[in-house]
């Protein structure tokens, strides 16, 4: 069974529902999600549906986390703006940080603008650092609940642990 220090840290911080669409940068995390109880993990078919399901789970009393590749932010914008931001629904998010000049072409255009895009909508974000999983998990959950907003932790190479 795959163990993910990041998933364990998020569970310790109170996350008890995960919805997401896999990214190869988040292989370890998603492998560990497979061992979650069936009612706590939704393998979503697209990122907008994942974040919408998180609203349902949050209404139901859970602390819901959305996980995706940064390209998925594009699909999510309508839901993040007219559900989470408009209603004030907290949403911790793990988003892969793709788009470096050495990455494949299909990741570059949106990937290199991920930070600008989040800044444009006032969505707080941080870059994950190795060994900081517990601090980052608490920051994600606490910031999203205090400010009642989506909050993004960008997961780059070497931080999917």
């Amino acid at each position: 069974m795959t163990v993910s220090r990041r998933l364990e840290a998020l569970r310790e911080a109170g996350v008890d529902y995960v919805a997401g669409v896999p990214c190869s940068y988040l292989k370890t995390f998603f492998a560990a999600c497979g061992a979650l109880p069936p009612a706590s993990y939704l393998p979503a078919v697209r990122e907008d549906h994942a974040v919408a399901a998180c609203v349902g789970a949050w209404l139901g009393g859970r602390r819901a986390l959305a996980v995706m590749q940064n390209s998925g932010i594009g699909y999510c914008l309508e839901v993040l703006t007219s559900l989470h931001l408009m209603y004030g629904v907290p949403l911790p998010m793990l988003v892969s940080d793709r788009g470096a000049p050495t990455d494949f072409e299909e990741h570059r255009i949106l990937g290199q603008r991920t930070r600008q895009l989040l800044d444009l909508f006032g969505i707080p974000w941080r870059e994950a650092r190795p060994g900081r999983e517990k601090v980052e998990a608490r920051w994600l959950v606490e910031t999203s609940e205090k400010e009642r907003t989506p909050v993004v932790l960008l997961v780059g190479k070497g931080t999917d642990v």
Partner: protein, 187 residues
């Protein structure tokens, strides 16, 4: 029957504990006017996400979750059908108020006139899915749907024209969400 009449009839058949997700736009306003309840979540935007929100609720709650969806709304977020059919939450009841058009934007025809939504739901994995007309049999169609094994799907044809326009809901989005969450989780 009009969509507003079927929305009102559906709400009259539910129990107090049932959780309702009402689609953005007219369906939410009609649900509010017919029978406002604390356990109804009113969507204002994010068209296409009715089934996904209902799924998040159905996975995390034991009560019955009733999704009041529209045909154009469902088509926009068709992947939500696959998620419900794949996960199969037994407490999710999905109703499509199908007027065959985009009524609030001027009645432009929708592809729901040509796509068999209940066959798509069956194909996605819902154990029970039917199509019905909203004539004298509407009540029995709704009762059969609510008594079926879940997740159950009913595509009910309604008039393309409404008698009037239900007013906007006099609550802020923050008030809507705070009320629904408090009713469900006591927070």
């Amino acid at each position: 029957m009009t969509r507003a009449e079927v929305v009102a009839l559906t709400l009259s058949l539910l129990s107090e504990d049932d959780i309702v997700v009402a689609a953005d736009g007219a369906i939410s306003r009609e649900a509010y006017r017919a029978h406002d309840r604390e356990r109804t979540f009113y969507m204002l935007g994010s068209m296409g996400q009715v089934a996904s929100i209902a799924l998040g609720l159905a996975m995390t709650r034991l009560e019955r979750v009733v999704a009041l969806d529209g045909d154009g709304n469902l088509l926009m977020g068709f992947g939500g059908l696959a998620m419900v059919g794949g996960i199969k939450p037994p407490n999710l009841y999905h109703l499509v108020l199908d007027n065959g058009c985009y009524a609030t934007t001027g009645g432009q025809p929708a592809l729901s006139q040509k796509v068999d939504l209940s066959a798509a739901a069956l194909g996605a994995g819902y154990p029970w899915a039917r199509r019905s007309f909203s004539d004298d049999h509407a009540r029995s169609a709704l009762e059969s749907w609510l008594a079926a094994p879940g997740p159950a799907f009913l595509d009910i044809a309604v008039d393309a024209e409404e008698r009037d326009q239900a007013p906007r809901i006099p609550m802020t989005p923050e008030e809507m969400v705070a009320r629904a969450r408090a009713a469900l989780s006591g927070e």
